[in-house]
Subunit: 216 residues, 2 copies
């Protein structure tokens, strides 16, 4: 069975993005600090067509993102800083002509737009009829592989509240952002029904991996 | 120089106590889960006059609490469930006749009360004139040793906002409480000026240790 899963980097004080997202700060002020551990890995280097990068524990956890992954779902704000209706087709994501996904990507939005085909296998599809529809389309597109929620916080929260997430991993960094988007809020006292199956750390990040609790 | 420091266990979703503190649930519903890692250690066993307990990484971090510690400051709610004026002297804390502190303990409250001397060196002093006064009294009582903030969240936040904390350690457990008292809020976009000097983990908890950033 294909799984719906996510993995996300979080500051120790609970933020997955800093405040004031903009073209200059795609993840908000200081948001890039949450991902420094990942930038250092070989997996990240490879995803962006570069040589080098560290192997080891953090790299293994970064690589989990790609393993058996057939489609991505993300929120509108993760796709770009544009708000309201798409006024033109100029914005094609933060990632340049060849985004690092290499799969269909389903973008949740209230505003319809034609699909955008990028280099390297990534096609952005814009879904206006809700998270269940996006998931159904992603499952269809993924051909039996898993579906990854790319983010941000609001999108993850919607899927958690709907009880649709099978597995997740939180990468907790020692950053203290002080403000931004919290992962664990708007969850109606949840998430419930998950158990931590792995906790390991490097000197710069701790990885907490959860699956659905057995016997639920 | 004596240091003001704290160490506190936090759920992955950011809570240091569950909701609905009561005589039955001193740390709120499911709050005890945050401390299971510590209960297992030899340090905890010794603090409560018992044999046994695990040694190793978690024990070393639990033991940090006692090292060179000369006085404790805690909030009223950590001392007990009584609210409003002290109607009698019956409540003497959660910890029985011999509390595990063995030092002077300064309890922040709006309601004056005579000191309560317990067995084993713990004396509870009730401070009604604010956190700076409590700290000054604790420094005096500690005789050159460090002062530990016992908790809870509100007391820690007050000292962080005032810029008075020298060091702290957060023990992040994989628990997902869903509700309770958050550590990282009411901090005016802080805390700022700290750097993580150690991040290590066992399979059940990760320890993040911070000191004041050098060059601040």
């Amino acid at each position: 069975m294909p799984k719906l899963r996510f993995q996300i980097s979080m500051s120790l004080d609970g933020y997955v993005a800093g405040p004031d997202q903009s073209v200059e700060d795609p993840i908000g002020r200081r948001g890039m600090e949450l991902h420094e551990w990942a930038f250092a890995t070989r997996t990240f280097h490879e995803m962006h067509g570069r040589e080098g990068g560290d192997t080891g524990l953090d790299d293994e956890h970064a690589a989990g993102w790609n393993a058996n992954m057939g489609a991505v779902i993300m929120g509108r704000n993760m796709f770009g800083p544009v708000r309201g209706p798409w006024t033109d087709d100029e914005w094609k994501g933060w990632w340049g002509p060849e985004p690092p996904y290499h799969t269909p990507v389903f973008v949740l939005t209230h505003h319809p737009r034609e699909p955008v085909e990028m280099e390297g296998g990534t096609t952005f599809h814009f879904v206006t009829d809700g998270i269940e529809s996006a998931l159904a389309q992603a499952v269809e597109a993924a051909g039996g592989k898993d579906i990854a929620i790319g983010g941000g916080a609001s999108t993850v929260q919607q899927y958690l509240r709907a009880g649709l997430v099978d597995e997740f991993e939180i990468h907790v960094t020692p950053a203290l952002l002080g403000a931004g988007s919290r992962l664990f809020e708007n969850l109606a006292d949840g998430p419930a029904g998950y158990e931590c199956v792995e906790l390991v750390s490097s000197p710069v990040v701790a990885h907490y991996r959860f699956t659905r609790a057995t016997g639920m």
